[in-house]
Amino acid sequence: MAGTSLRTYLLTRLALVVPMVLILLTLVFLLMRVAPGDPISAALGGHVPPALIKQIRHQLGFDKPLLTQYGTYLWDIARGNFGTTITDHRPLSQIITVNGAATLELTFFAMLIAIVVGVVIGLVAGRYRDTPLDVFGRLFGIVAYATPVFFLGLMGQLVFGVWLNWLPTSDQASPITQALLKTHTNILALDAVIDGNWSALGDVMKHLILPAATLGLATAGIFIRLIRVNVIRTLRDDYIEAARARGITERSVVYHHAFKNALVPVITVVGLNMALLLGGAVLTETTFNWPGIGHALVTYLENRDYTAVQGIIVVFALVVVAMSVIVDFLNAYVDPRIRY
């Protein structure tokens, strides 16, 4: 048996990252360049003298041959230089650290909510298959999936923001908090903890509840479905039958043997759903005026700022690839069969 070692597996997997990143980057480049219309005059509006447009075109290298542009584009990304926006001259690196941090804060708490809700309901529905509990769990999952995040967010704003007046309906923190809180990590909740500024933390958390719950509940639907099917599948496995045959109580079989194994694939699902969560974050951030990277993308799309859009899409692509690699690593670590 010459099973491949973990290290060899990891190295092969890492090598596969290169073509994947290259393909994504090339697709983004082609899309943005093949795009009809002139990006620069589009971004600056119609009232710019041709000479200025020409100068900016030259500055951005848009007048060079396509292949040269492609080379520069790849080389810039390799050096970590994602460019500067056309409309408001912000370096992309600043968008990544500031807006990215806001998105990270939102998606982290949303994922937490999604995992707790999804795992609990999914396990119960799978365990009590075909009972009213299962029907309820599945229906909850389907409706959670069927509800657009922006609709759920709107209803949350109406009920908890406008009618009950419990929670703020937009922004990441109140203006006072944003002005007074010192910046360490750009993640406001973390900054508040570092400073031991508990009133600021309370304010940040209050602003976080609605967006995170909205995005989390919408994502939970997917978890419920997958975990339920996994539990059903695991409960039919031979080793479960064997455990039952050994006289282990059904309770112990379910809780100690089945659930643990049914949850292993969740790692994959969590990882793959990070990509989905990023898509959902765009909508959640727009609904709640959350200053994340998705919100930035929508704003720059409206302003037709091609370099900003291209830069943000490239960042998303890199995040997605990184997530898929991390998922595969974790899977290989947990499940030796994956290493072939």
Binding site: P19, M20, I23, L24, L27, L31, M32, A35, P36, G37, A42, D130, D134, V135, R138, I142, V143, Y145, A146, T147, P148, F150, F151, L154, M155, Q157, L158, G161, V162, W163, T169, V229, I232, R233, R236, D237, T268, L272, A275, L276, L278, G279, G280, V282, L283, T286, T287, L297, V298, L301, E302, R304, V309, I313, F316, A317, V320, S324, D328, I338
Partner: protein, 322 residues
């Protein structure tokens, strides 16, 4: 010969319908309720001009302008919007828009994705490797973002925004899914004895794919396409919400209406957002119930028959593993 051909063509349909007749319990309930909800919206869409009290962009009746942001009343059951149009009319006409876009988008995604998957899976080789790399890269990417970018690029081109742009954006987002499903299935079917036999008899690849592989693979498509339609509704609504879907003068679209409702919400106005939202939730739920019901009755791993209990070996979902 001529008599057997139509029957042979019908056979996969009959075979596919068999588990549906045998469905019972929850799966049966899901199938029927899903079908009922979906049909309800199809009827709304097809007969919108007769069902709806007003047109989707109508803001006056005779010479009387509708009130702005009026509460639901007997005259306007779902209330009116800030532009004085009737919310109920917009919800009903919205069904038409959703149906149009989703049908076009799914048809295009199938027409592109299925043949690519068939050819790529059957012939293998460099073409297959390349396609798999590209499709996997696209598949990993959040499809909402793909759709947004495509819609953004198309809307600044001569095509402009509208039904076709939205449909193309959704198509591009879903082609990788169909490609993957079909290709992976073709690869397992390719080695089946009956396909080998056909090849040994000297059938050309074209014939083998068309007559043997296609019908076997295509049975997987209905549940996926139904679930996908549910997803496509959400995607279209998301595009509309972000302003890249159907423009207000071209038709009513639920996502766009919810976008407009966000500013109403701060003054406690609920009817402009609630009704289009409920329409989305209902239609997506209906399609999901239908798709999952189909999946459960057709997929042998999850299927339970009416008579006796047959336990199948749990098949690992190979298509899900990287």
């Amino acid at each position: 010969m001529a008599a057997t051909t139509p029957r042979a063509a019908l056979q996969p349909i009959v075979r596919a319908a068999k588990p549906i007749r045998e469905a019972h319990g929850i799966a049966r309930g899901m199938l029927w309720s899903g079908t009922a909800i979906t049909l309800f919206f199809v009827v709304l869409a097809l007969f919108a001009p007769w069902i709806s009290p007003y047109k989707f962009n109508q803001y006056r009746s005779g010479n009387v302008r509708f009130p702005q942001l009026a509460h639901p009343s007997h005259k306007h059951l779902f209330g009116t919007t800030v532009q004085s149009s009737d919310v109920m009319a917009r919800v009903i006409y919205g069904a038409q828009t959703e149906l149009k876009v989703v049908v076009i988008a799914l048809a295009m995604a199938l027409v592109v994705g299925v043949p690519l998957g068939l050819v790529s899976g059957y012939f293998g080789g460099i073409l297959d490797r390349g396609l798999v790399l590209i499709m996997d890269a696209l598949f990993a990417f959040p499809y909402l973002l793909i759709a947004i970018v495509i819609a953004f690029l198309l809307s600044s081109s001569s095509i402009g925004s509208g039904v076709l742009t939205a449909a193309i954006a959704i198509t591009v987002a879903y082609v990788p899914l169909y490609f993957r499903v079909v290709r992976n299935h073709v690869i397992s079917v390719r080695e089946e004895p009956y396909v080998d036999a056909a090849r040994a008899l000297g059938a050309r690849p074209r014939t083998v794919i068309r007559k043997y592989v296609f019908f076997n693979v295509v049975q997987n498509v209905p549940p996926i396409a139904t679930l996908n339609a549910a997803d496509a509704i959400l995607l279209l609504a998301a595009l509309g919400f972000l302003g890249y879907g159907i423009q207000p003068n071209q038709g009513a679209e639920w996502g766009y209406d919810i976008n407009r409702a966000v500013s109403d919400a701060s003054s406690g106005i609920w009817w402009t957002g609630l009704f289009p939202g409920i329409a989305i939730v209902l239609l997506v739920t209906g399609l999901t119930l239908l798709g999952e019901g189909l999946n459960e009755t057709i997929n042998p791993v999850l299927r339970r028959r009416r008579f006796g209990r047959i336990d199948f070996e749990p098949l690992a979902d190979e298509s899900e593993q990287p």
